[in-house]
Symmetry: C2
Subunit: 221 residues, 2 copies
DNA sequence: ACAGGTTTTTAAACTTGTTCAAAACCGGAT
DNA sequence: ATCCGGTTTTGAACAAGTTTAAAAACCTGT
């Protein structure tokens, strides 16, 4: 169902390129399907032949953002940063990748939160990134929490993205500030999780999240 | 700028009543401005004379939800429940009030998160409710956290509402589950906050939130 | 009662996302 | 060359949010 024809794939790609350009320049509302079609040298209906809706179009574009985040973050995780810095790196990479799409905030959220196959893939990629961020930090966080930390950080990132989506401050500076503060906080929390009380609380939080998040109907009939 | 004429106010109210009816019956997408106007016995343009947009209309309706939540919750807080139960009461009241508007999720969020004068009022009402929920619980939470607990709970509620907005499960049962779990968790956390470590973490979280949330440009040029 | 202004109402347009039936195109089998 | 089935493209239409110019209704002071 992917590429019927080489030309078809090329046209599809052209639409996406034009779209990302126009979205970045004129925002989500400011970019009309008609303008995308026109700038791609196609008729309106033709764009709809390739993408069933405007939302689907940006959703497809959003898929690429995760890869961009990973590309930007991974090289900066190599060295033995401390945990706080590594968290910050990943946060920054996320906000950088999202920046051009600020106006599509809620559409992106539906894409990110949605539970179809494609977002499972994205989730997996982000998870891997967080695992690496934790693994690459010196000193290593306490063993007790090392396993759950990536999940926890991934969760905090999701919160950050939601905040960003509704953040109206210029250049999303409030989101930047939140990212910096949250990075410090989480690093400190990781250290403290050596204490059983703290550890229990973290466990509870993770438990709540798992319980609520987990009953997504997996593939099958 | 509020009510130019008694009749004007009456018409405005009629639109709102009809709208809440139609939204509840046919959902957000299923309710058109034209249908609202028609059911109100007005012309389309006339509805727009009273409300600058469909979003603004539901935003205004959303304002009333806070009052409904308070009305529903307050009587059930009277007795000396324990903290967990009181938290649950307020959560449930929120989800009950929101229920008919599930389809307007993101629109409501923009309204709730937006930082204009009107949402300041709503915030204040919710805050008062949470203060009462804490004050009415037996045993009282540790003095150290009693002051900040309402703010913290308010924050968790906001998270719950965001989750609800994107919750596609039937009858928002996942949100209900989250509410129950979060209520337990927060109650336990309150008790634990007697311990200095926990208290410090809570302080940090509140600090982050305050720092990020507080620089809303208040009135004045 | 009436002129002058303000508020309310209307009808018609405009915009933009989306759909659809018909046409144009293309590569292979006859 | 011609027909065929599938793919791509088009142009027109529709639906619903939004805007607007002008008419109608209303008020108020004379």
């Amino acid at each position: 169902m992917e590429t019927k024809t080489p030309k078809s794939a090329e046209t599809r790609a052209r639409i996406q390129n034009v779209a990302v350009e126009l979205f970045a320049r004129n925002g989500y509302r400011g970019t009309t399907m008609r303008s995308i079609a026109a700038a791609s040298g196609l008729s309106l209906g033709n764009a709809y032949y390739y993408f069933p809706s405007k939302e689907a179009l940006v959703r497809d574009l959003a898929r690429g953002l995760v890869d961009e985040q990973v590309r930007a973050a991974r090289p900066r995780l190599r060295s033995g940063n401390n945990l706080r810095d590594n968290i910050q790196v990943v946060f920054d990479a996320a906000l950088d990748a999202l920046a051009p799409f600020h106006e599509c905030g809620t559409v992106l959220l539906r894409a990110a939160i949605g539970n179809d196959e494609a977002s499972d893939v994205s989730r997996a990629k982000e998870f891997a990134l967080w695992r690496q961020a934790v693994a690459a930090s010196l000193p290593q966080p306490p063993a007790a929490i090392r396993g759950d930390l990536p999940e926890l950080l991934w969760l905090v990132q999701r919160g950050l993205v939601i905040f960003w989506a509704y953040d109206g401050s210029p250049d999303a500076e409030r989101s930047r500030r939140l990212a910096a503060n949250a990075a410090s906080l989480m690093a400190r929390l990781a250290v403290l999780s050596r204490l059983p009380v703290v550890r229990h609380i973290v466990d509870d939080v993770i438990g709540v999240v798992r319980n609520v998040e987990s009953d997504r109907p997996k593939m099958g009939s």
